[in-house]
Amino acid sequence: MLDLFILVICGAILLGGILAVTVSGTLVASVSAGAAGLFASLGFLLLGAPDVAMAEAAIGSGLGIFIFLYALKKTGQSGRADE
């Protein structure tokens, strides 16, 4: 049962990473990178590192997306598929 849970978490991390690389909009890409970080913090919890899990959840996926969104706003491409 726990094995299945770990497999699901690994799949979710990789899915977030693949979406962050392949999707066409920068906004969606940065949010899915943050989602990968959030699932990674679940993985840290399973690996017995709650300190790292808290740091990743608060810094890596919380504040990281925050500054990405402000940078997207400053460069005027918040949303529609660019390129």
Partner: protein, 234 residues
């Protein structure tokens, strides 16, 4: 567009090499059944010498606290250099006008009044209980900074006072280094936490200077991350 296709081909080749190296790492990995010598030493020494049950905090704030100081210095340099980097430039072509953000609605504003005490209390709890349970200066500081981020979303027009934050941050940094120097004089080395009595393992007042250093680190990290957010917002 041959240059582009050559670029893609070389990149794919490099990625294949990286993937091969990673596959070798994964294939060669064996899950250990016991701790290494260094880790076992830390697990034994941290409760005995420092009276700190959370060994990760013990490593971050006592055995390797010089690293932590350097890391906070890196954060400080980033926060300081973002100001000139993100300022509007004189000679550059005028940037496209960014649409101003609409003010937050009444529901979000009232909710922010309700939630802010929760977030601040939780951040302070995580900072101050870093030596007893999971958490510490970095994590709690990030939680407080995310509360500041909520404030920034709700009060669109109000800038956060970066100068006051810098003053508080510098005071915390000076006190951090002063405690470290005190350890050099009274204890066994820079940032030695044993200059205060250790106390009983697992009590709130224990671990020598580690709770104080953790609180200072939390103030520093929260202020620096808030300055980073404000620089990106302005």
């Amino acid at each position: 567009m041959t240059g582009r296709s050559i670029h893609v081909a070389v990149s794919l080749l490099a990625l294949a090499g990286l993937a091969l190296a990673c596959a070798r790492i994964v294939a060669g990995h064996v899950e250990p059944v016991a701790l290494g010598e260094l880790a076992a030493g830390y697990m034994r020494l941290s409760p005995e010498e420092l009276t700190v049950p959370n060994v990760v905090t013990g490593i971050l704030l006592a055995y390797r606290s010089f690293d932590t100081l350097g890391e906070v210095a890196v954060l400080f340099m980033v926060a300081a250099s973002l100001g000139p980097l993100l300022q509007p430039m004189d000679g550059a072509p005028a940037p496209r006008p960014v649409r101003p953000m609409p003010p937050a609605s009444e529901i979000v504003e009232s909710g922010h009044h309700l939630l802010m005490p929760f977030i601040a209390t939780f951040g302070a709890y995580v900072i101050l209980n870093g030596h007893l349970s999971a958490g510490g200066g970095f994590q709690g500081g990030a939680i407080v900074a995310s509360g500041v981020g909520l404030f920034m979303i709700v009060r669109v027009g109000t800038p956060v006072d970066t100068r006051a934050l810098s003053v508080g941050e510098s005071m915390a940094g000076v006190l951090f280094v002063a405690i470290g120097a005190l350890g050099l004089v009274l204890g066994g080395g820079f940032l030695d936490p044993r200059i205060l009595p250790g106390g009983e393992l697992g009590r709130f007042v224990s671990g020598g200077t580690i709770p104080i250093v953790s609180a200072l680190l939390g103030i520093k990290v929260a202020a620096e991350l808030s300055v980073v957010l404000q620089r990106f917002r302005s």
